[in-house]
Structure formats: C-alpha cells, structure tokens
Symmetry: D2
Subunit: 199 residues, 4 copies
C-alpha cells in the first residue's frame, strides 16, 4: 500500500516547513505503508484544470504518484484562515480526474482515501481541513472519519509549530489516529471496492 503526501507549503526547499514536520508524524504512523512526501512548490505546477497544461508543466509526474497511491495526505499551512494557494492549485489540477474512469467505469479517485494535515501561526485549521476534504470528496476520494490533525495556538497570530512545544502531544496523538483511520479505510475499500456509478 502506498501513501503520498503533498506538502502545500508556500516555502520552496530547503526552507524549513512546519507543515512537513507535522505531516511526517502522520506518515510515520502508517505501519506497513510505503510513504512519499512531495513539496509541491518546488515544481512548476501550471494553473489550469487539465491533467497536462503543456510546456513546462511539472504536474504530470506528481499526478502519476497520486494515481499510484491508495492514500493521499494533503498537508497545508493556514493563510488568512484558508488553505494555501498551493493546496488550491493541487485541487484544481485534480479536478481533471472528475472525467477520468478506469477499465470498470469508475472515477479514478474512487477507492482512494484522503486526509489533511494543517499547521498555522493562527486559527483556521478546521476550515482548511473542511475545504480540502470537501474538494477531494467531490473528486471521488473517500474521507475516513477523523483523518486529520493540526497545530496552531490562538488567539491571534503567534508561534510556529516547530518553535513552540505546547500542544504538540495532542497534534501527534490525533495524527497517529488519523494515520490508522486512513490505512484501515484504504484496506476496507481494497477488499470491497466501490463499484462504477449506475449509468
């Protein structure tokens, strides 16, 4: 079983990403799963809603990884209480999957599961989780119960995840439960997949 985490930080490598640090906790808790992390901002993912936006578009190899994985984890920072522009860019590119089906007529995202990891220097995590999960469910991903974790510490703007010890334990325990829920539901769907929609 494969899990892919798309880290949607605004910061290109090698800058430190708080989001990556928390996402690693979740990936690390997926026992027996082959995990991979991609920092999307390191690639030139063109704006658009097709699988390949042409010359210079670096989305197609990332998409290939999404299609090969049973589990997708979207990891995103919070800016103005909302998912990062990089996360929304990923959703827009995944939107193209709506019209793609496999040999049995199923949308290609069916029977894949998705979860969300959020960090921020302010309030907004639940909204970011809801926005990203909602978009992925529209595309066909199944969202297991409690398949997310987050870290922030209000009220108002404050510290970053990596600079502040407070509350990390909750974020990690919640992330470990999320990992287990993602793996469990991915296995359940592997054993009993959703069939093609009625035509």
């Amino acid at each position: 079983m494969k899990a892919l985490c798309l880290n949607c930080t605004l910061k290109p490598s090698p800058e430190t990403s708080n989001t990556e640090a928390l996402a690693k906790v979740v990936l690390g808790a997926m026992e027996g799963v082959d995990t991979e992390m991609v920092r999307v901002v390191d690639f030139d993912v063109k704006p658009g809603v097709e699988n390949d936006m042409g010359e210079g578009d670096e989305w197609p190899p990332i998409l290939k990884k999404v299609l090969a994985a049973e589990i997708l984890v979207m990891a995103a920072p919070t800016w103005l209480g909302k998912p990062s522009s990089v996360a929304q860019r990923v959703l827009e590119r995944l939107d193209a999957l709506l019209s793609e089906t496999d040999d049995e007529g199923r949308p290609v995202a069916y029977n894949k599961v998705a979860g969300v990891v959020v960090t921020g220097n302010e309030d907004g995590a639940h909204h970011v989780i809801g926005e990203i999960s909602g978009g992925l469910a529209d595309i066909g991903f199944t969202i297991p119960g409690q398949a997310w974790t987050y870290w922030n510490k209000g009220p108002g703007p404050g510290e970053d995840y990596l600079n502040d010890g407070e509350g990390k334990e909750w974020s990690h325990t919640t992330g470990e439960a999320a990992a287990q829920n993602l793996v469990s539901v991915a296995k359940a769907l592997g054993a009993n997949p959703i069939p093609a929609p009625p035509s």
Copy 2:
C-alpha cells in the same frame, strides 16, 4: 443495513419540503437497505452539546435512530448560502458523540458513513455539503467519495426544486450514485472496521 435521513428543513409538517423530495430519491436508490426519514423541525431539539438536554428535549429518540443506523443522510436547505439552523443544531447535538466509545474503545460514529442532500432557491449547495460533511467527519463518520447530490438553479434567487423541471435528471443520477457509494462504503467498513484509536 439501516439508513437514517435527517431532513433539516425549516418547515414543520405538513408543509411541503423540497429537501425531503430530493432526499427520497437518494433513499429510494439504496437497495436492500431499511430506510427512515425524520423531519427534525417537528421535534423540540433543545440547544446544547450533550446527548440529553433535559426536560422537554426530544433529541434522545432521534439520537437512538442515528446510533442504530450504519448510514446517515443529512438533508438540508440552503439559507444565505449556508446549512440551515436545524442542520447546525443536529451537528451540535452529535458533537456529544465525540467522547462516547463502544465496547472496543471506538468512537461510536466510527464505521458509520454519511452523505448530504441539498436543495435551495439559490447557489450554495457545495458549501452546505462541505460544512455538514466536515462536521460529521470530525465526529467520526466516514464520508464516501461523491456521497451527495443537490439541486438549485442560479444565478440569483429562483425557483424551488419541486416547481422547476430543469436539471432534475442530473440531481437524481448524482443522488443514485451517492446512494450506491454510501451503501458500498458502509458494507466495506462492516466487513473491515476501523479499530479503536491508538492510546
């Protein structure tokens, strides 16, 4: 297998509910499932975040039905582009389930699935779906891919679902797929349930 639909219209019986009419299409497409519809506004569901808010509270018998069903369908109208106050009231009361676990230590909403049906006389359905699905996933329900349908017809305020033929076919086909996805994932989780969170 049991499916419960909570119709969160603002209109008490016997007023006609557009939301109920579309929800019936979804319930009707759940083959081999024992379905039930409850119009929540007909009951005095007290404000609060506990399972029983005391004298006069008519939530406990509805909660019993939620706990007995593998599938929950929340059906809601759109007001100001948002879920109805009745839908939010239901989410608040379900919030109490966060701290309840079964004999095996699992939150009681684990291994239940949930979907959403929305009608409105204006734009807003995707947001209503996202808000309700997000709340239910927080509580522990699994949200199958594409487990929703809706009807509205923009731009601006317009007709109701029952007064306008346009687009119904899309809403029904989408609702039938939602029904199948809900039943499939409920069965998959029945066969291979999510275990208790790591402690």
Copy 3:
C-alpha cells in the same frame, strides 16, 4: 447612535456565557454609543425566513431592536468549527430583510454596519467570523475592516475564555479596535449614506 449585540450562545440565562463576556469588552469600547445585549436563546425564535412566523414567535421584538440600531454585533460560540445554530437562526430571520426597503427604496440593512465576536474551546473563529459577516453583507450590512475579535486556544479542545488568562489581552485590544472601526464606519455612512440601488 445605537449598537445591538445579539449573543448567540447555546446556553440560556442565567448560565455563564463566555461569548457574552468577550462581547461586553467590544460594546464597552464604543464611546458615546447606546449599547444593548440580547441573549437570543432566551427567546423562542421560530424557524423560518419571514419577519413574523406567527403564534409564539419571539423574533419580532428582537428585529425591532435590529432595525433601530446603526451597529449590529453578532457574538457566537464555535461548535464543530462553525457558527452556532442560534447564529444561523438569526441570519435566517434577517434574510427576510432582503425584500424590505425604506421610503427611499433602500434595503433596510443598508447603512448599518456589523461586526462579529467569537469564543470557543477550539479552533474555528476566523471561519465563524467569515460565515456570519458574509451572511450579513448579503443582507446589506456593511462590514468595516477588522470589525471582529475572538478568543480560543488550540490545538485541540481546551479551556474556555473565562477560565484561561492566556491571550485575553490580544482579544481585548483587537476588540477595542473593532469597536472603533464599527463606530467610525457607522458615522461615515450616517453622514454619506449609500443610496437606493439603480432600478
């Protein structure tokens, strides 16, 4: 100049309301303004989208206060990261104002301003502020820049505003700025009102 605060807590009087406590800071900072606080859950505000839902409906006297005030402050707790059902109930009832105009053909909410105060035992404030502000702007209220404050302290569920000293200073300073912005814009619109929409 009059300011009305609708406290949308789920807790009836005389229970302690954290939301009320923070809202008082905002009202207290409105110099020279006649302020009033109403705890909506103490009244039987019927579900519906009309100004008067008939027998037993206790919304009409509250609506009268809304119409008499230049400034509306919605104060709401956060449940499942969303505005309380009482707040959404208020928005639904205010929805009826969309079709009401004054002698000059202006929607009655024009030239009124609105702000939001949020407390919670978890993340979600910015979303609650956005949802409520968005609904009020649809109805015709003007939303001054930075016309809100909030208190919560993540990550995960935690303390209440009144039980935890941390971060209160930020919430109060932000609330005092919100108060000033509300009063300033209300005065600016009083001196130079928005005219009726072009017909």
Copy 4:
C-alpha cells in the same frame, strides 16, 4: 477615485475570461471612477507572504496599483466550489499589508473598500464571495453591503457565462448595484476616515 480589478482567472491572456467579462460590467457602472483591470495570471506572482519575494517576483507593481486605488474588486472563477488558486495567491500577498501602517498609524488597507465578482460553470459563488471578502476584511478593507455579483447556473456542471444568455440580466443589475455601493462607501470613508486603532 481609482478602482482596481484583479482578475484571478486561471487562463493567461489572450484566452477568453468569463470572469473578466462580468467584471467589466461592474467596473463600467462606476461613474466618475478611473478603473483598471489586471489579469494576475499573466504575471509571475511568487508564493509567499511578503510584499516582495525577491528575484523574478512580479507582485510589487501590482501591489502599487492596489495601494493607489480606493476600491479593489477581486474577480474570480469557481473551481471545486472555491476561490481560484490565483485569488488565494493574491490574498496571501496582501497578507503582508497587515503589518504596514500609514503616517497616521493606520493599517494601509483601512478606508479602502472591496467587492467580489464570481463566475463559474457550477454552484459555489456565495462561498467564493464569502472567502475572498472575509480575507480582505481581515486585512483591513471595508466590505460594503451587497458589493458583489456572480453568474452560474446549476445544478451540476454546465455552461459558461459567455455561452449562455440565461440569468445575465440579474447578474448585471446586481453588479451595477455593487458598483454603486462600492463607490458610495469609498466616498463616505474618504470624507470620514477610520482613524488609527487605539494603542
């Protein structure tokens, strides 16, 4: 008085932008205002939350136009029911204004007004309006009542604004009212500006 419209379509020039077409109706209704439209995707706006992200960043000249205008119109398409990644990128870059003040200690977005124009081939406009307005209000922009318009036609995916005559009249009338409300409130704030926050 100056109004700047940032068109946040995903399509680079010279592709046809439905969003631009509807935004022009709004700009065209701003009598006596000097208007300008910028298609953001034509520029290399780097990810980040500072005013200048360094080499190759083409945001600074756009920011200069934002600062010179009293009125900002954000025009955005709807993808997966959410604001485009380009719109979120703009919000992230404007986030830097939170810490900038003018000679009188006022955040630089104070006394500017903002509105939103949305097109889409599916439901989602009110949410897009709410998300963008909410972000701009956080930064300090004032959001006049009913300062938006949109076009889409549900249910389900359908036509584009420019390919479908239905409902345009409502979108245009609503957009003309939005234009008037933006200009009126900008003038009101020009005459009676919000002062610096209490320190």
